[in-house]
Amino acid sequence: MTQVVLLSAEGLTVSFPGRARPFAKPDVVRAVDGVDITIKRGQTLGLVGESGCGKSTTGYALLRLNKGTGRVMFDGVDLMLLPPEKLRSMRRRIQIIFQDAAASLDPRMTIGDLIAEALDLHKLHTGGSRQPRVRELLELVGIPQRFAERYPHELSGGQAQRIAICRALAVEPDLIICDEAVSALDVSIQAQILNLLQDLQQRLGLSFLFISHDLSVVRHISHEVAVMYLGKIVEQAPTSLLFENPRHPYTKALLSAVPVPDPDVEKARERIVLAGDLPNPANPPSGCRFRTRCPVAQSKCAETLPTLHEIEQRHSAACLFV
């Protein structure tokens, strides 16, 4: 089947000023370093990696919430080149939901007002159809009408995330960036929210960029998965391919950390335990960024920077040995 590309980023780079030292240029931390990703219409791209590897920064950069460089083509338009006014109306089509949903809602506005504001910002459903539309949206995410009068602090974590999703949906986006959207919720609520997202995807044809460190969640919801390490994508493939046949040593290590719910398999399986912490992104290792923790690293890894290349159809990895 043919899939329409909705968003494609090329060479996305986000740098932050690092620690300033006297008489020297301040460090530059490349939190995201030349990332290419593609999100297809109606599909979910999972973005996984350790804390601090740049997953969230990538998500923010796509929305231009931070100062990134590169090309972000969304439906034929380069978002990076849009003037502020156009960008604001374009933001209607790309929404984001956050890990701490309650904190993403203005504490001094009622739920009803928060959703109405989203409509108001893009002049949707003006006048008499606004209140019915707010009710309809609340129903879509399974929140009772009476919650419209409440304030964010009166919601539970799951309810707050539903409201955040509701507000994102209010502006009828094509793409929703889910930044650790279920990480702060307990497991049963996680499942509810994931099911809600999948249900909405089917009904409304939404695309998701699903940023998470939780591999089982990503496996459940994604069509494709990209693995990130220290600001770079190291492997990318359709979900089943990646989980069954990981090629990059980092992906292998990540996957081996997930317990298998079968005692025999669990006992027999081989675990790859990575030594050490994530290197300082202000001063990344030369060559392959993973080499300091890689179980198969050799001397040439310090000299050559591996690029993401296709190793089989739709499956690419950035390692010199695959």
Binding site: D100, S104, L105, E117, A118, E149
Partner: protein
């Protein structure tokens, strides 16, 4: 409801009243604030309706009845010109309250936007604006007031201007520091991602969320302005006679402190009560304006015997 005992309270949804009503209820729950609100309303009432409820002209000299103590005829006595002290206090309240209000309005009109801009935009603009505010702050407030009044002449507008200028940096700083905190909140990023421009972010979301410290500071400015006006008038630099003013009357009462103590007790009492009332309210307003402090009480409806008889 047929199976309910007539006297059983029927708990239904918690109350979801408007924000104003919730805030008001929270405010009145605090006794000091409620007392403050009551005193303030009383003074406002006196000031507004003085000519209709007090049968004396505050400037009418009646030497035949000078320096009379408090009586049923003159509740707070008369002064050395035989003028009714209560009438003078009520009319003086007009001066105090209007100076207080216009000082707040003037200071807020400049201080709030400067603080918001400085805190939200940051960088060099922040630096320039804040150093400018620091420069203003170096003037001793009363001395600046004396200087401005000396330069432009003593009248209400000048006094307000002098007091307002002094308070601009105070408000600007409070607003700026609160803005710096709110600016980094997730909901600001979230609202920007939703497509909001800076204008809306600053004036809808940031302003709404710095309301608590701002309101507190505004009440402080308000009461400080009342005291400062009284001080300037006391020194003869504020309202000019014969217009009644608390500070002015206090100055004149000094000569009669022993013979007619009511003359100085009245303005002193009015100044103290109004300042305390405003400060008590300010303290509690900070909390009551925050939706997180609102207590949603379940609305219980008790079926009355009559209602059950009707079914």
């Amino acid at each position: 409801m047929a199976f309910h005992d007539a006297s059983t309270p029927v708990a239904v949804e918690p109350n979801y009243d408007s924000g104003f009503r919730m805030a008001m209820r929270q405010l009145l729950r605090n006794k000091a604030a409620a007392a403050g609100l009551f005193c303030l309303l009383l003074i406002v009432f006196l000031a507004v309706f003085a000519p209709w409820i007090i049968p004396y002209d505050p400037t009418q000299i009646a030497l035949s009845s000078k320096l009379h103590g408090p009586s049923w005829e003159h509740w707070l006595g008369t002064d050395h010109f035989g003028r009714d002290v209560l009438a003078r206090m009520a009319h003086g309240a007009r001066v105090s309250l209007s100076v207080g209000l216009s000082t707040v309005a003037f200071a807020a009109a400049f201080g709030v936007p400067i603080g918001l801009l400085s805190g939200y935009v940051g960088g060099r603009l922040d630096n320039v604006l804040m150093r400018l505010m620091d420069a203003f702050l170096t003037f001793p407030p009363l001395l600046l007031g004396v200087a401005i009044v000396g330069l432009l002449g003593a009248d209400l507008t000048t006094v307000t201007l002098a007091l307002g200028i002094v308070q601009i940096p105070v408000l600007a700083r409070v607003v700026r520091s609160a803005t710096l905190v709110v600016r980094e909140e997730t909901y600001i990023t979230a609202t920007r991602a939703l497509g909001a421009g800076s204008w809306r972010l600053v004036f809808q979301h940031v302003l709404r969320n710095i309301l608590s410290p701002l309101v507190v500071q505004i009440t402080i400015v308000f009461s400080a302005a009342i005291v400062a006006e009284a001080s300037l008038s006391f020194l003869g630099l504020g309202v000019q006679p014969p217009t009644p003013s608390w500070g002015r009357d206090l100055a004149e009462a000094r000569r009669f402190m022993v013979d007619a103590p009511w003359m100085f007790l009245a303005p002193t009492g009015f100044i103290i009560v109004s300042v305390m009332a405003i400060n008590f309210m300010g303290d509690s307003l900070r909390d009551s304006l925050d939706p997180r402090s609102w207590v949603r009480r379940a609305v219980t409806s008790r079926e009355t015997p009559r209602a059950s008889a009707d079914r």
